[in-house]
Symmetry: none
Subunit: 548 residues, 2 copies
């Protein structure tokens, strides 16, 4: 009854370019540390290839490849790819320092972009059509000789094919003949529609070259264009998580993969990985600090949410009547918007995980209500397990009082000097009681939270020397209720380590200092509670590292 | 060379359901006034049909139709549509009050939803397949007899066709034979892919019935599915502006229409209307208060923004090398982003955009160096045009001194109370000179930045009453160098408006208060520089409204 979808080809590449093309997005700027974190998350997702950036051209990217090469961040299953260009006009590839940077990146694969649109060769590259083909052949064969696998991105392929199909195909053939393993057809300007992509990829596939697809979303069809190319024979799909990318973004890779896994029935990711897709998409959004779209296919917060009404009663009969897939398959949840976001069952399971018995139905319901209220106020416990445990302990009356804070004060002053940077001082005082001893301590730091951290640490040290081992390793701020300017609600996540494990606490308030203080004092409290217990083996660091 | 796209059918419907299906989106709640405003905007856009809501079922919707019927809000060219259901099981349509409400709405068209999926008839409607067909026939013929044009939405048509194609087609035929002008095939759960839609619509079109398409975006293919249905014979497309809707949303109507107008070459909207698309999409987002996606096809703030330095130099040669359409056609603009990936060409174009002559090569290189240094330190100018202009003015010695700040202080204190929320106070003082007058002013607020904002405003008011119109509308914080805890560098973006336009400034520092102060004082400085200049027509407010 349905159009026969193509059977899975023997070899198929899921190629992620979040770190390269995704970072072309307006407002998205990744540090080396951000890139390392995202590379690890992509590896967890199980993509085949992670394109990390353009070594030699961007200092951050060069540093990223150096960090990857030192082994501490080795990818479990993904293959690292370095991006570059064909050699410069009129220079041998062997003499081009940017070509050498590809080899020096020590990435096993080089993905180089080549022109395949005649007008781009003549007007942007300002060289001859012949020289462009020589550049492709020379660069590919040089990189191959240096020991790298090579993929070639044919930039503006579809637009080029429209104007000069023979030349566009010649670029494809040249790359393949020089040793490119895959030639990726790029809809660089994003203006294609699926029937056009299908037709052109079919023509290109007649060359016998292994083809890939790289689509942008300018017509709102990036995912469909990618699938159309796959239907026409492509065996390699490029995309970015959360659809990041220049202009309207790239093909959203999780949507592409979920469609291929769930609609085509192709196993592409390692078993169980697709169930991590929602968590990983949100974790990457935390790193990029680009707010996630609640409507994002498969992984969006709203993607399986139903407004109350007609659907609700029918959903009780059979949820599959109202959802196209089981949301658990992509790690998402059906939500009824009138009912609990966090269900009782979830809370019970989470409590058990932390070692608390919540089997009492009434207790579990009361705690679920507390979580719901707190989440409505802006708290999030997905990332802040430590704060969730403190909430549980409070409800269960199992919260020891290690210290009592009476007051805290933060004072910041600036002396701007015209035409030069001024000076800023921050000082704070904390008054608290620990083990019956009252302490009034002053702290300073390069910012208010840093100063508070120093003060509270100094105040606790006499009673609890263990806090000397505590270290704040991550501090994140998110403005909720955007559009309210500085009146908005602020959420702060603080991650702390004692050298053996790390934990995350959350604070919320209209005042950023107040929210930070809440997260900070909870961080110390949690750390003290667990100071004597052994570090649990079953708590992988990465789970705590990423604020979801 | 391209697949022949279908020629435009003689009759073609652009049917908007923003006010009905769009309002199923999580967090989107429209008042009657909101609905009236949006209906007017949709009419300006030139859609053929505006589905306004479900009279008789939602009080707001009933009131909306009453307001539309009184004539004051008459649509210029669009036809108003009332949504409803087939009559209740076991009742005559003539006796069903919800059917009567459709007539009473005085909308010229009724669009009623009917079941066409056998399992939904039996399990959700809990009636027989026969009775469901009778309900369709009875309701359609009754409404026709009462004088309304009738469209029928076949709910879950595609899923139903998969399980029982004969019954799904029987529902289509029954509706048409009873007098439905168009039968709309709905992918209610959104799980379809374009080849499936194409195949099923082709089968349904063999009935000879005029068909429509209603797609959701659960596979990321709503726009492509809509086009696939059109290719297979549909003459009616349903969608919502900005893609609002339940779960992942509906097909984004402007993308669908722009694709049909610009890629298929079909004139659908009144001449000149498509050029209003960006403005109208953003205006509707203002009413719904759902933040616009900067990456939205055609109308997004970033949709024609370029970051790559390589692109920039080629864009100077021919902008069409790097864009799939002329952005002016949809009322959008090409924008060059200033970023560390940018070279001198970008900076020169950006300067020109802002009205500064940077053609001097040495000057442009010096400024490019300054931008690169600042970006390396954590600044970003992509989102902060105002700060970029201040940087330019500083380099060009064109920065007037409206005020000189001597010092500022912020004081925050908390009094935690055990087991309860404590109190937090923030107070600040600012000392500055404006127009020769020294001012020392105190401000308070619910947070340190809010307090600083109040203080600086009060200090400037005597000299510059215009600052009374300035309002902070967005405040974003990004922690750079994650992993350094509270020692990390902080970047703050502040967006300010004077009611006519909005501008964004950036501040960076290790101290969040210091970074906020920098962005804040620059916001006031920029606002004062531009206070007397007219709001530029070529700078639509919306372009500046979105930070990041």
């Amino acid at each position: 009854m349905f159009a026969q979808l193509r059977p899975k080809p023997a070899e198929f590449h899921v190629f992620d370019t979040t770190l390269r093309d995704g970072s072309q997005q307006e407002g998205l700027n990744l540090s080396v540390a951000d890139k390392l974190t995202i590379a690890g998350l992509l590896d967890e997702l199980g993509v085949g290839f992670v394109e990390g950036g353009w070594p030699g051209a961007n200092p951050n990217d060069t540093a990223f490849f150096a960090a990857m090469a030192d082994g501490a961040h080795a990818l479990r299953s993904a293959t690292l790819v370095a991006f570059g260009f064909t050699r410069r006009v009129g220079m041998r590839a062997a003499d081009d320092p940017l070509t050498a940077a590809l080899r020096d990146s020590r990435a096993p694969v080089a993905c180089i972009v080549a022109k395949s649109h005649d007008r781009h060769v003549e007007q942007a590259l300002r060289t001859t059509l012949r020289e462009n083909l020589d550049m492709i052949a020379d660069t590919v064969s040089h990189l191959r000789a240096e020991g790298q696998r090579v993929f070639v991105d044919c930039e503006h392929f579809f637009d080029g094919y429209r104007e000069n199909p023979a030349y566009a195909l010649e670029a494809v053939r040249t790359a393949a003949e020089a040793g490119a393993e895959v030639v990726v057809l790029c809809d660089t300007n994003g203006g294609m529609l699926p029937p056009w992509v299908g037709e052109i990829v079919t023509e290109a596939a007649a060359t016998g070259v292994q083809l890939g697809i790289h689509a942008h979303n300018d017509t709102g069809c990036a995912v469909a264009n990618t699938l159309a190319a796959v239907d026409a024979g492509a065996m390699h799909v490029q995309g970015t998580v959360n659809g990041y990318g220049e202009r309207t973004g790239n093909a959203e890779l999780i949507s592409v993969v979920a469609n291929l896994e769930l609609k085509y029935g192709w196993p592409l990711l390692p078993a169980g990985s697709l169930q991590e897709a929602s968590r990983i998409a949100h974790a990457i959004a935390e790193v990029t600090n680009v707010p996630s779209s609640a409507r994002q296919p498969y992984v969006g917060l709203s993607s399986f949410a139903h407004k109350a009404g007609l659907h609700a009663s029918a959903i009780k009969v059979d949820p599959n009547l109202y959802q196209h897939i089981d949301p658990a398959v992509v790690g998402n949840d059906m939500r009824m918007l009138v009912s609990d976001m966090a269900g009782r069952a979830n809370i019970q399971m989470k409590g058990e995980e932390l070692g608390f018995d919540l089997s009492d139905r009434e207790l579990a319901s009361r705690i679920t209500g507390r979580v719901k209220d707190a989440e409505a106020a802006g708290y999030t416990y997905e990332a802040a397990d430590a704060s969730f445990e403190l909430l549980l302990r409070r409800e269960l009356d199992q919260l020891p009082e290690y210290f009592a804070v009476h007051s805290w004060r933060v004072f910041t002053q600036g002396h701007p000097r015209p035409g030069a940077e001024g000076e800023t001082d921050t000082e704070c005082t904390v008054r608290l009681t620990a083990k019956g001893q009252s302490q009034r301590v002053v702290g300073e730091g390069n910012g208010p939270v840093n100063a508070l951290d120093h003060a509270v640490r100094n105040a606790l040290l006499p009673a609890y020397p263990v806090v000397g081992r505590f270290e704040l390793i991550d501090y994140r701020v998110r403005i909720l209720d955007q559009g309210h300017g500085t009146d908005a609600t602020v959420r702060v996540l603080i991650q702390t380590t004692d050298g053996r494990r790390a934990w995350t606490t959350v604070g919320v308030g209209q005042n950023i200092i107040e929210a930070s203080w809440e997260a900070l004092s909870d961080a110390y409290l949690y750390g003290l509670i667990h100071a004597e217990s052994p570090a649990p083996a079953a708590e992988p660091a990465i789970q705590e590292r990423v604020a979801v």
